[in-house]
């Protein structure tokens, strides 16, 4: 791998293999699947944010028209505690089971209490309303302050804080504490010419995928079960569902549908175990589909967060010390992404003296789930806002300030490992030279700069490459395609094998067809599954070379693979013509059988992703309304396999980040009911709210991948929060530190200016 590497198809922009089906409406999503005799399910959800379940009586509901089965927690085995591995959201299996269906207590408004299967959805809903549940309501805990107060009502009476120096003896809503540090904090602050100290807050937000959760479950008498569902990881659904149901993993087959967005939110399970137990009880397949309201009330949001940050700066902009306490709302069960948040918060900078403290806090809201770079947007919102303020106060250009502190290859990251080649400096330098940054601002417009960072991960992946008898190629892998990964896999296979992109088809297969792969998440698929596809393609090449050598009665060292064919090296004593994939595949029946390449690996060497965002915003000072006038996303992709989908990731992340910054938030009533559980009042930006989002791909190749890839899917959402807030603060003339920057909040800020 080198920067000078010439590529044949990598870096081109062919039409994606799944494109036609999607734009013509043929693609089959979670709710599109049906089976003969299938029943429709509905979930009875808690009307309370916090209550004890005293009694559930399903008698009346069981007698309702069309009803075939009803399940409550009693129909599920009790699940032992144990950490969930390989997922993005983190957490514990017992909590996962408790979130799927409430046991003894409801912990948030919308928590599943029972589920019904009936012949029609209307019958199932009508029957669910007939289930009698007696609750003893408890005071809801709805904020970090309320959760951490002395004598706060306990959401989990058995929960003891983890991570304390002295083991906790009493229960609390504080699930865990993370602490790390280095250097001499006091000395660092003593050295500072400027200290910026602020509290930054971000709201609960949802991933906002267009497709609600949906599945069909079928349980057969021999305890073999099948699930069709919309997910980012069929293998994760399999392991989680098997655990919740107390079944062997091998007894469950999971078939992923096309996926209408996930962004991390479809890396866990909600409906899947319910549909299977309903199927087991009724003897029929059961389809379950959430409404949008259910998606908001019961599926994973991103944590609301509060960061108390203090940073010291020398006159020249050097960061002398940094200290932060980060409290993240986990929702009703432990497992906010405060962990990765603590690792990201200062990651882009060289800071000798630092202390980071993270708090994972339970509140009576839905359990937080992964959302693109989980934990990082909240964290970097604080750091990048503080840097912006420091640049302003020190009279330094904000990009220059960041360049003076930027991490480089060879630096030890604050979270441990040493950085390999990274694109932090290259992104900053590109931003400083970007036409957006150089052009004059319109009157009243504020310009914001912010850096984004995400680790990117590797994890386990498998791939098979089959050479069909005419030389066309079928790639089988197990990662649902949420961002154009079929196209990227096809490009990497075509590049490696030396065949046209069009001759490669990529199949996203089920858990009994594809080899094991971890979830589509962590920005890992193009990197890790891509690596598996390349390895499996190389396996094919090795087999081809071996077969050609045998045919030519020579040693394998005497043949070479070039331009999609085996060529004899000079000196081979035969009248050998090159043998293409097609030639060898056509003769497979005489030469050792079908050409099948395989790879399974645990990918190491994921390259961290850095980005710089530029935002121009204009505040209407009479109304507090913000207009985003221009936005540019610059990011290091390592190597952009399919540049259009890299640009799409940058633009999509920017759009979601702008929404997070400006208008998205869960609005709760005093008793813990979300008041805006729909897209009318949960305001994701619409197309006309956004300017054209300009993109610039930087390519600092990652030596850990055969083609230099580093993940690109998550970093794009990290920088926009601060980029927008810095631009809005500049336009408003007042530093705004609490998101979202909705008109009432901006107006309140202007009043205090």
């Amino acid at each position: 791998m080198s920067e000078a590497m010439d590529f044949r198809v990598i870096g081109t922009r062919p039409v994606r293999p799944d494109g036609v089906d999607k734009v013509t409406g043929r693609a089959s999503f979670g709710a599109d699947f049906s089976l003969p005799g299938m029943l429709e399910g509905a979930v009875l959800r808690s009307p309370h944010a916090h209550a004890r379940i005293k009694r559930i009586d399903v008698t009346a509901a069981l007698g309702a028209p069309g009803v075939k089965a009803i399940v409550t927690a009693e129909d599920f085995p009790s699940v032992a505690a144990g950490a969930i591995e390989g997922g993005e959201g983190g957490g514990d299996f017992a909590d996962l089971a408790g979130n799927v269906i409430a046991r003894g207590k409801v912990r948030y408004h919308g928590h599943a209490v029972a589920a019904v299967a009936a012949q029609t959805r209307a019958q199932a809903l009508a029957a669910a309303a007939l289930i009698e549940v007696e609750y003893e309501s408890l005071p809801p805990v709805l904020s970090l302050d309320a959760a951490l107060a002395d004598n706060a009502p306990l959401i989990d009476e058995a929960l003891k804080t983890k991570g304390l120096a002295e083991p906790a003896t009493t229960a609390s809503n504080l699930a865990s504490v993370i602490e790390m540090g280095g250097g001499d904090l006091a000395a660092g602050f003593a050295e500072a010419d400027l200290v910026v100290e602020r509290r930054y807050q971000t709201p609960t937000v949802h991933q906002g995928y267009i497709e609600p959760h949906a599945c069909v479950g079928r349980w057969v008498q021999d305890d073999q079960a099948m699930l069709w569902c919309s997910t980012q990881g069929a293998f994760d659904v399999r392991s989680m569902t098997a655990k919740v149901l107390g079944q062997p993993v091998g007894a469950l087959k999971v078939i992923p549908s096309e996926i209408g967005g996930g962004f991390g939110g479809k890396t866990t399970i909600y409906l899947e175990p319910l549909s299977l137990i309903l199927s087991k009880k009724s003897g029929r397949p059961v389809r379950m589909v959430m409404s949008r309201e259910e998606v908001f009330r019961a599926t994973g949001p991103a944590s609301a967060a509060r960061l108390d940050l203090r940073m010291g700066f020398a006159k020249d902009g050097r960061i002398t010390a940094a200290e932060v306490t980060m409290a993240y709302e986990a929702g009703a069960f432990p497992g906010s992404p405060v962990g990765p948040g603590t690792m990201c918060v200062f990651a882009p900078y060289r800071i000798a003296n630092f202390r980071i403290k993270g708090l994972d806090v339970l509140v009576n809201k839905p359990k937080a789930a992964a959302y693109r770079a989980p934990g990082a947007p909240q964290a970097l919102f604080a750091t990048e806002s503080a840097l912006d303020e420091a640049a302003e106060k020190l009279g330094l250009d904000p990009i220059e300030l960041r360049l003076r502190n930027a991490v480089e290859e060879g630096d030890a990251a604050i979270y441990g490992p040493k950085f390999g080649p990274i694109g932090m400096r290259a992104c900053l330098e590109a931003a400083a030279k970007h036409p957006h940054y150089l052009r004059p601002k319109e009157a009243g417009v504020g310009r914001g700069v912010a850096v984004g960072f995400w680790f990117n991960v590797g994890l386990q992946s498998s791939a098979e490459v089959h050479i069909n008898e005419d030389g066309t190629v079928t790639v089988i892998e197990g990662n649902p395609d949420i961002g154009g990964s079929r196209a990227s896999m096809a490009l990497m296979a075509a590049e490696t094998l030396g065949v046209p992109y069009e001759s490669v088809r990529v199949v996203v297969a089920d858990t009994e067809t594809a080899g094991f792969s971890n979830v589509t998440g962590g920005s890992r698929v193009t990197f890790a599954t891509g690596m598996a596809v390349v390895e499996a393609s190389k396996d094919i090449i090795a087999q081809c070379c071996s077969r050609a050598a045998a045919l030519w009665s020579t040693d394998q060292e005497m043949v070479e693979w070039r331009d999609g064919a085996v060529h004899p090296r000079p000196g081979v004593n035969v009248d050998a013509q090159p043998l293409s994939l097609k030639d060898l595949a056509g003769q497979a029946g005489r030469m050792g059988g079908p050409l099948l390449g395989k790879a399974s690996l645990n990918a190491k060497g994921a390259g961290p992703g850095f980005s710089v965002n530029l935002c121009d915003a204009l505040v209407d000072k009479e109304t507090g309304r913000v207009e985003v006038k221009a936005f540019t996303a610059i990011q290091d992709a390592g190597k952009a396999i399919h540049p259009s989908y890299v640009e799409g990731q940058l633009q999509g992340g920017a759009a979601q980040g702008i929404g997070w910054a400006l208008n998205e938030e869960y609005v709760y009533s005093a008793d813990g009911v979300m008041e805006n559980a729909g897209f009318l009042d949960y305001r994701v930006p619409v197309a006309s709210d956004l300017p054209m989002i300009e993109t610039q791909i930087i390519e600092v190749p990652n030596p850990g991948h055969p083609y230099g890839v580093r993940g690109v899917g998550e970093t794009p959402i990290v920088a926009p929060l601060a980029a927008v807030a810095n631009a809005v603060s500049a336009s408003a003339g007042v530093r705004l530190t609490e998101l979202p920057l909705s008109p009432p909040r901006v107006l309140a800020g202007l009043d205090q200016a």
């Binding site: 209307a122 009042d681 006309s688 709210d689």
Partner: protein, 294 residues
Amino acid sequence: MEGFAYEAPTSVAALRSCLSTAQGAGEMTQILAGGTDLLVQMKQGNRAPRRIIDIKRIAETGALELSGAELTVGASVPAAKVKGFPLVAEAFPGLAHAIDLIGSSQIQGRASLGGNLCNASPAGDTIPALIANGFEAHILTAEGERRLPVEAFVVGVGKNALQPGEVLLALKAPAPAPRSGDAYQRFTPRTEMDIAVVGVGARITVDEAGVITAARIALGAVAPQAFLAEAAGAALVGTRGEPEALEAAAAAAMEAARPISDKRGSADFRRRICGVLVKRVVAEALGRCQGETN
């Protein structure tokens, strides 16, 4: 959604006959025009009519014409058609803009002004524009017809003045006076696909010297129903819309507003935005009094 009976009368007489049997049977009857509110409400379980009467096949509800000095908009005419009607685009640009804010293009192809009015949302975008422009509701009654100004037609959140057995047939307004202009603006956090936090419509008429002779200002989303803020209009009459006059109109509107605090904004925020919008809308309408239409 439960099953229901569906009827589509093709004349006013047939409609009247449908309505009389509906009353007799005591069924829950619902009038259907575009259905962009009704079908959603039914799917959400908020309404469960047993009988639906579709009025789209009746000539009177489909009328869109200028006859004499009166504009008629039939109750079931799709919003997109009204918006594109030359007289509306030229003489009622504020109303045309209000229509353009309803939902999306797809919704506007189906939604009707009559339905938007009957749905009587406090935040309905066309209602302040209709009130400002002096539209009247023409109502089919058991015996004949009656007329009500739009501001008297909306009587509460989701409540209109129709009595059982009555149907809105059309909306009618006088063609605008010379040297007059209208405008509508709403405040939403998003640019579109959103619901008004505050909506303000105005129709202003000036004399040859540029002095305001008539001003109708209507407010939406700041009370249980859209209403005519008479004092705000009165504050402008006799002025040329100078900054002090705009301030006085804004102050009168803020005084008249009775907003609630909810997920879309606090009462104080709404009242304040109401004042800002009144000034902006009056200025825009004034700009149109001399023939400017955009």
